[in-house]
Amino acid sequence: MDAAETPDGPETAAHDGGRPAWQHRLLAGGEEPDPRFTLANERTFLAWVRTALALLAGGVAVEAFTGALFAPPVRVVLSTVLLVLAALLALGAGARWLRVERAMRRGRPLPLPLIVPVLAGGVVLAVVVLLAAVVLPRG
């Protein structure tokens, strides 16, 4: 295989780093960072995506497997919270990947991971719904 060909498409040598024009616009400015840092940023993004996929599977599992445990409204709320959280995490992970890539290129401090409070808040909300569903019927 041609070493210049990547999963992100064939290179166009006319642009900085051989990038297509749209990628050049998104990443313009600064200097090429150490390639190890670029790969580390990619792995961190993938870790967030796997977290989002786990939440997605959890949301589907709540609907598919807990029919005998929870009333339909509880299942719908819990499942929807988890699925919405998964979508938000995936979007946040993509935005964070881009912001970190830009910060590295410009030699700036890396941005704070704002998806951490999103994840924490979403999980707390799901747990509150779950506790309410388990405890309230017994009270």
Binding site: T6, Q23, R36, T38, A40, E42, R43, L53, A90, L91
Partner: protein, 107 residues
């Protein structure tokens, strides 16, 4: 393919990280399939989408490793913008289909 000189094995770790993500997509696909008897096509569709997404990642794994090893050797890696954008779109799309199926199932 150029041989890289990174003792931290970054290309291999990154490709394996994509592989782990494919496994997560596989689990998600099977979870959607388990929901099939209750919601029908609204579960089968996302299951197929997740499986096809995982297969697409698997099909590009060798190219990905070659590109990463080449990037380390040249000291200039290309950020995987298209792959990242596709993965975000895939997860958001699957979540949207899941929410739709949940609401239809409840109605």
């Amino acid at each position: 393919m150029r041989l890289h000189h990174d003792p931290g094995l970054q290309p291999e770790r990154t490709v394996m990280s994509w592989g782990c993500t494919v496994l997560a997509l596989g689990v998600l696909s099977l979870t959607f399939l388990r929901w099939w008897p209750a919601v029908g096509a609204w579960a089968f569709g996302p299951a197929v989408v997740a499986a096809v997404g995982g297969a697409a990642v698997l099909a590009t794994q060798r190219r990905r490793y070659v590109a990463h090893a080449d990037g380390i050797a040249r000291e200039q890696a290309r950020p995987a913008l298209a792959s990242v954008a596709c993965m975000v779109a895939l997860v958001v799309g699957l979540a949207g289909l899941g929410i739709t199926a949940t609401l239809l199932h409840a109605a």
